[in-house]
Symmetry: C2
């Protein structure tokens, strides 16, 4: 690893620390009404995925299945999601948003967008597009290799 790479990583970690912490703090302030940031992200994944399972969520967020069970239990107790067993393979439990979960999620999503969007004004459209495209490529690489950096 050359010095340039080291320097980039230091700068990336510096910026990353600030950006993620600040965004997460702002979002927390806004969606405090009964939804944590993690719960928001889980609802988001459930909503996006047809026939979403615990195993899928665990892999998506790089976490053990037992952690997902805990989160899902809390969302279930709060009446935000529904669990449906697959009739053909009764090991599988499909997760979906309840009506109430849908409402809460919609509100939270709006607030997340309200938090982030003002910052976009400080950038050129072209730069934003390029930035996000690179971020997506990085995400793709990480997801594809699953950590195996061949």
């Amino acid at each position: 690893m050359n010095e340039e790479a080291e320097h980039w990583i230091t700068r990336y970690v510096d910026a990353y620390l600030i950006v993620t912490r600040q965004i997460s703090a702002r979002i927390k302030e806004r969606i405090a009404e009964g939804l944590t940031t993690d719960q928001f992200l889980i609802l988001r994944l459930i909503k996006a995925q047809e026939q979403c399972t615990s195993t899928y969520l665990a892999e998506s967020v790089c976490v053990g299945k037992s952690s997902i069970t805990a989160i899902i239990n809390r969302l279930d107790e709060a009446g935000m999601i529904e669990r449906t067993r697959d009739e053909n393979d009764r090991r599988l439990v499909y997760l979906s948003l309840s009506e109430q979960g849908e409402e809460v999620y919609q509100l939270a999503e709006k607030q997340v967008k309200d938090v982030i969007s003002p910052y976009l004004l400080h950038f050129e459209e072209e730069d934003i597009e390029k930035f996000i495209t690179m971020f997506e490529k990085l995400a793709f690489l990480m997801q594809e290799t699953g950590g195996r950096t061949e």
Copy 2:
């Protein structure tokens, strides 16, 4: 907020979720020997800051002071840091890495770099520079405004 902005935010959150989770999972695998990711970041901040205080850390990571006390207590019990009271203003406690803390930190930092650097190979140097510069600008904006998006 226009539709383009909404779309950008959706894409950003999608990529963000994957990148942060994957990086954090990879780092966790590597520095499992007695350091959590948060502890690593705290050590990093202490190291970078001359006369680092709890209040500074709390503000840096957007968290209550009591959370910092908890983290610092654990690092202290593990013999990784030292607390020194200011002689002139005895309310202040300065934090610094112990010899052992320094060693553990150095090792962890190397491993973080080993985790991230392979991904850099997939990008043009020019693009990396631009990406990080934008990320830094975003970090700067967030830190400056402290959430007040005037």
